[in-house]
């Protein structure tokens, strides 16, 4: 599971030191480590959640939107299929991965909802 904060760094040194803070360095690092452990691209189940934003962002920082866009772009370029996603809006989400069953759940407010199951 990867929880990145921004799409890309302004300073490459920061991404080298903290690759998992950024999509452009964290996502490839996650996939590389999975391939090293024996995963195969065609068998991967990829889910995404988050990318929320402050309710009324008149300033236009739109960090959530940028984070969502860069992820889609990277997946499209690399032929990765996104199996399930729940992104955008202004809700806080906690992602829960059940290692025994492979189910992916999200906790939103006081409810747990299913994002994907085998």
């Amino acid at each position: 599971m990867l929880h990145y904060m921004l799409g890309q760094p302004r300073d490459k040194e920061k991404a080298r030191k903290n690759p998992f803070m950024y999509a452009v360095s964290g996502v490839p690092a996650l996939f590389r480590s999975m391939y090293e452990m024996g995963s195969q691209k065609e068998n991967l189940i990829v889910c995404a959640a988050g990318g929320s934003e402050i309710l009324d962002d008149k300033v236009g920082f739109s960090i959530g939107m940028k984070n969502r866009t860069i992820l889609r772009k990277m997946f499209w370029k690399n032929g990765i299929v996104l199996h399930a996603e729940d992104t955008g809006g202004s809700a806080a989400r906690h992602m829960l991965l059940d290692l025994e069953t492979g189910r992916v759940n999200l906790r939103i407010k006081n409810q747990e909802v299913e994002l994907w199951r085998p």
Binding site: P9, K14, I54, L55, D56, A91
Partner: protein
């Protein structure tokens, strides 16, 4: 209609603040100008948990000393009075802010993490933009959401939770419409009951909507922006989620553009990780 202060006074009990916290706040905001103030080292030494917290930072790998500091005097010489105060305040505030705030969907420790992330963000903004005293900004942002601790006592906790779970739109506006006041107002009243300085009370009061009239003060804009940044990073976010409005004039006034915002966000995330690691605390899923 009763004022927020009157509502607070009518309650059987209020959330408490440890004496050490108010003393540390006084020292941090006073900048050593008050000769009657107890020295920070003495405040820290009186509390074994605070002493341990400060020594952990003084002996952290980041500072790179080969010999361990075993006394507060040694720690002070390594990190300096200002840093020591902030470490102590960040740690000591856990006693007041560390519990769960169930009405807002905040589990044990989550409100404190939100407070801490906001404090680091406010300090970072103040330093970067030179629009305010970093120590005051740190303290004000640390305390900005204390109103959430008292909301469940001042109103029906069930009504509050129901509103947060079912409603849509800006939470502050919904609090006011449903309950007659918001957590920023009740926070300022609680701060008054705790004897906090007036400048902090206003920063708490205005942390969601800094005024643009005669009451305007860059400190309020710093705390507002810091609050938004803590939310963007996912710290201290409960049932209310990110359902708050961001005031563009605050960012414009402080000169915070996209680059500055992202730099401060990165800095806050790294400082949070570093602080929690030094304190032996688990890294949250923020």
């Amino acid at each position: 209609m009763a004022t927020v202060d009157q509502i607070l006074k009518s309650l059987d009990h209020l959330p408490a603040i440890p004496t050490a916290v108010t003393q540390l706040i006084g020292n941090l905001m006073g900048g050593g100008d008050d000769p009657s103030a107890e020295p920070t080292s003495k405040i820290v030494m009186r509390d074994s948990a605070l002493t341990t917290a400060v020594l952990r930072v003084a002996n952290s790998a980041a500072l790179g000393f080969q010999v361990s500091a075993v006394s507060i005097a040694e720690a002070l010489s390594r990190v300096g009075e200002n840093q020591l105060l902030k470490i102590a305040l960040a740690h000591a505030s856990q006693a007041a802010l560390g519990g769960p705030v169930e009405e807002y969907g905040l589990e044990e420790g989550e409100a404190w993490l939100g407070a801490l992330a906001g404090a680091f963000a406010a300090e970072g903004i103040a330093k970067r933009t030179r629009t305010g005293d970093p120590n005051v900004a740190f303290t004000a942002a640390l305390l900005r959401d204390i109103g959430k601790l008292a909301m469940g006592l001042a109103v029906s906790a069930d009504e509050l939770t129901e509103m947060l779970l079912t409603g849509e739109g800006d939470v502050v506006a919904r609090e006011r419409a449903t309950l007659g006041f918001d957590h920023a107002q009740i926070g300022a009243a609680l701060g008054r009951a705790w004897g906090l300085p007036e400048s902090l009370l206003n920063a708490i009061r205005f942390h969601h909507a800094p005024p643009e009239d005669d009451l305007a003060d860059p400190l309020f804009d710093i705390v507002h922006c810091a609050d938004c940044m803590a939310m963007m990073l996912g710290y201290g976010v409960g049932f209310d989620g990110l359902n708050y409005n961001l005031q563009p004039s605050s960012y414009e006034l402080l000169g915070l553009d996209q680059i500055a915002l992202e730099d401060v966000l990165v800095e806050v995330r790294l400082r949070m990780s570093e602080f929690l690691a030094e304190q032996g605390q688990p890294q949250p899923q923020a």
